[in-house]
Symmetry: D3
Subunit: 339 residues, 6 copies
């Protein structure tokens, strides 16, 4: 029983330096399509769902290529329209060892950021949908995208469409407009059934602080505050990442539920990381798939975590993993060549 899932957000082109080079160390850029919500859409399409994207791209070769790549992966792009403005870009230098990867956003004046909130006919766009997925990137981009995201969430809530919201707070992006992030984000948390967020996201949104001896305690405390503040919210989910170096991490995950549940996975050790970008989106997609597939909360969380781990081994923003591959990670088997 695949679900109908609508993702709303900007489509980006990633222009990356080859291997571990600095940006333009050699005169070549490798191109990948991404965007937080598009990554979720592609991952869900790979897992068998009917994923549809709502977005705006410029009417040029870059927009065509971006949309074509989503279409190639089976995402329904009928609701990706063209509009005035640029194609959103980001440049990436993939770090290594003690040198962090660097993302250089180049999204100013993008067609998506410039598109009027009134241009989206949400009741029609969400007709028949089971789930709407949004992230905190979208409202950061401008007043119009913020209004559009809030409108989408509200229409979904009204129409009985579940709302998934990934906090994804990135301070630099919010500088694009004269914004008050907590005010905006609260309106999105208010409509969400599930939020991907940790204690820092919640502290920001609620303007409160949390305490606790461990990250886990602080997350649980923050989640309880969030359930108090947002009556529709059922689940707070997050990864827990410890970084020993740029390419050596420990990754776990945690889910807190309104009904008192607290789930904490064991950690996976990740060495020789290939591509860390998009792993949070793979996690979100995995959890949403698990919950949509009648897994228990703990299993859905583990499935999401395994999807996130797997994504670290895949170059590009997209997760191309299928269910069998993710289950192999969960089982911890199958490391030898498959012939």
């Amino acid at each position: 029983m695949p679900k109908n899932i609508v993702c709303f957000g900007e489509l980006l082109l990633r222009l990356g330096a080859p291997g571990h080079e600095r940006l333009l160390q050699t005169p070549r850029l490798d191109v990948v399509v991404g965007g937080a919500e598009a990554n979720v859409a592609v991952a869900l399409a790979q897992l068998g769902h009917a994923a549809a994207m709502v977005s705006v791209v410029p009417d040029n070769a870059l927009g065509v290529a971006t949309v074509g790549e989503l279409r190639r992966h089976g995402v329904d792009v009928a609701a990706v329209h063209t509009g005035a403005g640029r194609q959103g870009l980001y440049f990436l230098a993939t770090g290594a060892m003690h040198r962090a990867s660097e993302v250089l956003y180049d999204r100013a004046q993008s067609a998506f950021a410039l598109a009027s909130a009134s241009g989206y006919d949400w009741p029609r766009l969400l007709a028949g949908a089971d789930l709407l997925h949004l992230s905190g990137v979208t409202p950061a981009l401008g007043a119009e995208t913020a209004a559009a995201a809030i409108a989408a969430a509200r229409v979904a809530r009204t129409a009985g469409v579940q709302v998934s919201f990934d906090g994804n707070y990135r301070a630099k992006l919010w500088a694009a407009w004269d914004s008050d992030p907590p005010v905006v984000l609260r309106q999105l948390f208010a409509e969400a059934d599930i939020a991907f967020a940790d204690h820092r996201d919640i502290e920001l949104v609620l303007g409160q602080t949390t305490s606790g001896d461990s990250r886990e305690q602080r997350i649980e405390a923050a989640a309880r505050q969030a359930f108090g503040a947002f009556p529709h919210l059922q689940r707070i989910v997050t990864t827990l990442r410890t970084q020993h170096s740029v390419d050596h991490h420990e990754l776990g995950a945690m889910m807190v539920t309104r009904d008192g549940g607290v789930h904490r996975t064991t950690d996976y050790t990740l060495t020789a990381i290939v591509d860390r970008i998009g792993t949070g989106d793979a996690f979100a997609a995995g959890v949403l798939h698990g919950l949509s597939s009648a897994m228990t909360d703990a299993d859905a969380l583990h499935f999401g975590l395994a999807a996130a781990c797997l994504k670290h081994s895949e170059p590009g923003d997209f997760s191309r993993a299928n269910q069998m591959e993710i289950e192999a990670v969960m089982a911890g088997t199958g490391f030898d060549v498959r012939r």
Copy 2:
């Protein structure tokens, strides 16, 4: 006796599809640094002049790479500053046969376009210069760049620095601001000693039409009108291009001088063109070099044309040709492998 030459304009990154592919047909872009005035600066530096660039780039890895490439070619970049805004980009698909090359400008909100005209201290920047080179691209980008270009030209005129102006009219770029191109361009022609322009450029600037049985007659007529309108202007120079297909052209050149001179080169046949971008800039640099080297007008024109022809064989925006190579083209010799 090399000259001190100051070029003012935007530095661009060209992101090009490999070979003759469409943009993003395969997921890779080859990167080249360019910009009309930068191309002139590099070509003049290769020919032994002290070329300095005045520009503004963003304070990020893209700006660093762009400036570094000019520095690598011996251009003085001490007057390239950083400022708020993006790195100007353009995307290129190189055509072939009956399919034209396509340039997709992505220069909106660039650091150069956003930089305030008041930020340039022209008397200092032009101190000791023999020549200032500008193009019609710069005023097209915004009111500030237009004001800066005009200021530069006026200061140069006052200071006794020769002014070279390449019309380079591109309608799409002027859409970036609420502009009146003829009004702006007239102020630049008014200060120029030498203008790279044909009858269409002059018709636009003067709001007049020209007539004649041939292109050459119309250019001469237009040049005479220009000399009437702009008392400082000494020379009008232009290439004459006939295109049989995307990669098969005939290229000649023409110069009209205030003192009544009319010079028309014979045409070169260009087949299997490698890269047509930047050939006009190579032409301008060649002519300026010739005039700076005490060549006759006719020889300087021929030298510029040969430089332009040679540039068609060089991938990238820059001409890397030295004087010996250009003279070999003029002599029509030396086609065999040089061992």
Copy 3:
């Protein structure tokens, strides 16, 4: 008024040596998706039609990639199923000058060739279609594909769906089974409304010879014979190619109609050819588009020829040209960089 067009044929991966290298001269292959009928489907989708592919691919990463590439270009792939067998491949070394390009087919035991003719539910697959496009490649591959092609054509005829048939006779491919090509091909010509074929194709099919002082006379004579033999056939269309070297051709086109019309375009000169593969498919798609768009026969023929000329400049099997680009070729304008 875009048309609903169904294409039936094998999807292929082209594994090509880089540039003008011999196969495996260096250890790298560039991969492109193709197949005669798929090329037509993509070209028609680029021109705005609803093109759907009917095919069979293996259930592995190669099949997924092949189908994904068609989907990326907007072709409906809902009727591309998976089946036992290999992914059809072909290896290509692109020649130059006096050295011909070489195609090495590797299609034996492909999923498409092995698929049972009874597996295609043609009435359902053709429901709502305006046109079915087939080629002579498909029946060459095996008894099942031959039976399937004939069944498709007959169902289309019965259902009032126009049938387009591209002769595409390749002797080597017919060796794949114990076949009698004329017998098979006659059954396909018998159902076709339009056939892409020259006098040699028709001579083969009818077992007759034609005479005439020129290629044109022989084609017209053969077409008249074909109209006599195949009462449904309305148009015979073909390119006329003269090859001065591997990358220097003259290309014209000719159409003969049942009602006595004979159209012969003027020839285009093609130099510095980038990729000759798929140009016949681009021609067919162009003619079909023209005829579907209420152009006159002569205009449709010219449009097809211009599409074919343009394809020679595009690397890969697919034509990505849009109507504006093709019309520019027809007008013989627009060779300079589009900025």
Copy 4:
């Protein structure tokens, strides 16, 4: 005293996705020549032996390239003939972290698989040979290759040529024909002097199970059973691999001899594995080299293990290691740059 060694098996082209990409994630394949027995031949040639290959390839550019690559590495290819059929291929996506590498075999109808067993004149092919090396891949491919392998082994036994047999059991490949693997493999084990196999291979061949508290105990028990069943067999040799992730393994090796010897190396830790393919073949070649060089059994085993470890650092199927490099691995020294 280099040995004359004859290897019999299929030559393959490996078409690999770049880096850690999925197959056709980007449209390029990197090509490498391989095949289990060819890998052994190349490794032995690098170690100074006179290695000759017996095989069949198609009479086309792919066959030429494949054979040429062996010749380049000094393998005698005079006994590689051409025959009807395809070039055997395999596609590879190299995994990472928790994502296994994937091999997609595309060997159906290969020239080698189709070649008649009667086409090999084994007494002539083995004249002067010291050793014949075979693997379990060859009989899996078809009845003819199975018959040829058995014939080769029997002729070798008769002629006093030592026989080396690498079990290499791959269930998927045996599906190529209506085969009974144990029956076939028993006939090869019966002629072997040395077999590369672990307890699972022997259990399959003998239809028995083994028990033991450790892998080592089970291998020894199985080896004893094998010595009982196959009176010519002198040595059973195997690697012992523990996989913590796709690119982090522990690798040891073990040899059991008919005369009661049991040798177990210490384990090497392998992190950041570059290419795991062909490591078993490098091991076999290393052991064969050691035994041919009058090393003790324990030293030969250690040499083989070091060769296998080293191969994990070499991209491609072939080991290019020389004796000095392998001895450096055994010594655990020489990790710094050699200048």
Copy 5:
């Protein structure tokens, strides 16, 4: 009846800028193996002869790679030894249009140049040979290589081995030692049965001038002088090249024989030249093959010319053409894709 042919000369690595780039315009070099005599050896091996190379390379990875590439193409490299010194290199920037290709030799102190003339055991090296091929490059490199070349030619003459000598005069290379080129070259011409040379080569060697209204007349006159001076010389052969631009040539060929024969082919037009390097060597190999195959002089000359034309379409120094391909060029057919 293939011939046994021995080639003596330096093996080189060509390090080439990609495409039409200037050297190190981008930081990558494409590597090809070459050397005038090695090119002849490879071309003759492709045509079915038993070609053996006599040379010296350094005992390092570069020497191994160079030799391996010859072995890959079927050249017998048993007589390529290692010696002290460097691997000979040359850097190449492939020009286009009006920009000549540039070769930057980097052969100083090469193992070949340093090798002692006394190290070659010519009677053994030439045992069983039908033909020895030398070029004027070898004596240019140093006193030892000059002495070795002369010794080889003399031993061949004595042993009844035909001697082929390609003049290949390159002034820059002769600067490597304190040499008197005419004195050295005369000793090689004196032993040659066939010389590849035009009037300029002969004028240099004989210290005479020739006159005539056309190139052809001057070549014939010079050849007659050469026949007078060198009694063993039977044939003078040369290409006649007219260059309209770097990638557009006319190519013909001419042979003058001692017995009064003069053969002049018609010219081939070569446009869009891929790689001009090695075309003279392909010509020599083609002529030698023709003469070895009992073709008439005129046919052998035409065959050589066709081989040379074909080589212009092949990237790299080597001609990989087989007899069928060359004959197709002679027939002027077969420009379409071979499927």
Copy 6:
């Protein structure tokens, strides 16, 4: 307060096999500019100093490219002259796991090695300098370079310019001339204020041995001997490297000062090393920057070590790190993507 730093040494082109391939495993080389002292110059320029290079390159495209790359990174190359001889090269195969990286020097007859010592006007070249940096590579290359290095150091000492000397002992290079390394090196140590050297370097120079239970004790003992022998020497600095495999090291650093100070950093663990070449130069530059910036000895040592660690993550010879990045390594923070 940036310093004026002069570096004297050879500029090299590194020609590297892609990824972890063996040299010429595939026919491509990636090119990087390096050289021990140039690496220091670039690193110091990145850190804000005015770094100038003194060197000699050939007057050809390779020399131009080499110098251009330094200029690109902001190094003053006004004192890099051209001279007779070759461009110094080195070939690199980057190892992995248990396979060491291999450097193949190809520096014989380089323009730098051939340049006369008398050609350097040291008083002028060092005018205004704060620091001269030399390494032990330079005197190894020939008698002239040795004389030049000693002259430079002596002039610096006289002029009050600090002298930094990096031992960099490489036995193979010293074979280039009839040299007595200790005699030469003593003259350089004699003028140095700071030396990068460990006990083995000092033992070699002083012809003495040191003892101690640990590396640290031996280094301190050797340093005390050096301070005794060389009265100008103030600091001995070295890294301490432990190699578990080719790409897994522990790296620490130690400084011993004349005034009795002994500083030993803690060790960094380096896994998945990207490029080990140039890390010693990055260390030297980091220490020199620290000491020039009024850091304490311990802080300067730590800064140098962090710079060295960071360089292991950067492909190429150059460190492109800025102060902020190095301080992040010192702080052990900032492993996540920087957006």
